[in-house]
Amino acid sequence: MTDVLIAVALFLVAATATAAVLNREPLRQALVLSFLGLALTLLFTFVQAPDVALSQLAVGSAVTPLMIVLTVGKVRRGSTSREHSIDDDDDDGGEGDVGDAGDAGEEAR
């Protein structure tokens, strides 16, 4: 029975990873990546590696998609504020904001 569980989990991992590659939009990719973290957690549990599964659960299903979502939100916000006024970014005083807005502008072109 363990072999069946491992086979199903392997199929889930393969299908989800392929789908994550084929999705081109970053926000949707973040959700698929979160599902991939879950599938990998189940696979690691079935092959008797709960420690790896625990770290995979924390990193893969929570932290990585959250960082992608935060980055996408910041890039979009930076690009819109740059289109409105360039002075607004300079008034913020944060160097990271200016750098991110510059990166977003380069990606938008």
Binding site: V8, L27, A30, L31, L42, T45, S61, V69, G73
Partner: protein, 162 residues
């Protein structure tokens, strides 16, 4: 390692239910994807609970405990960024039917003790998280509305919970 087959067969049921959920995560609208992701986390928690008993390793329950804590928080953070979470009856009914169906036999099999308390805590967390996230939330603020001032990151979950 002596694995009891019946629990593993029971764990295969929510695992197979993950396959159609994967289709909705991959090919749905963004709102549908969020609901499907929420449902997938609930089903994965069931698989972890049942396989922990199936492998005769009670320490594997920690995985389900971590997932039960992380899953609602992650869903609410996503709902904040995707602009609201639609009400989902399927998540609510899956939780209301699945959590007692999984936790009660596990508690009977475990007998009185520390493991039963842990199982009940996991079940309560799963049920509470599923009920909160399946109630849905409306978009409180447009994500691109504030142009200048950055938002404090701590208020995201509180804003999404309203």
């Amino acid at each position: 390692m002596r694995a009891s087959e019946g629990w593993l067969v029971a764990a295969a049921v929510p695992l197979l239910c993950l396959l159609p959920v994967l289709w909705y995560v991959v090919r749905g609208e963004p709102r549908t994807r969020l609901v499907a992701q929420n449902l997938a986390q609930l089903l994965a928690a069931f698989v972890l609970l049942l396989s922990a008993q199936g492998f005769n390793r009670p320490t594997y329950l920690d995985l389900a405990l971590v997932l039960a804590v992380l899953a609602p928080a992650g869903t609410l953070v996503y709902a904040r960024f995707l602009g609201g979470l639609p009400p989902a009856r399927i998540v609510r009914w899956t939780a209301l039917a699945g959590v007692p169906a999984a936790v009660v036999p596990l508690c009977v099999a475990a007998g009185p003790g520390r493991q039963t308390v842990k199982l009940l805590v996991i079940g309560a967390l799963l049920l509470a998280g599923a009920l909160v996230t399946s109630a849905g939330s409306q978009p409180v603020t447009e994500p691109d509305a504030p142009s200048g001032a950055p938002e404090p990151p701590g208020g995201d979950e509180a804003a999404a919970r309203d």
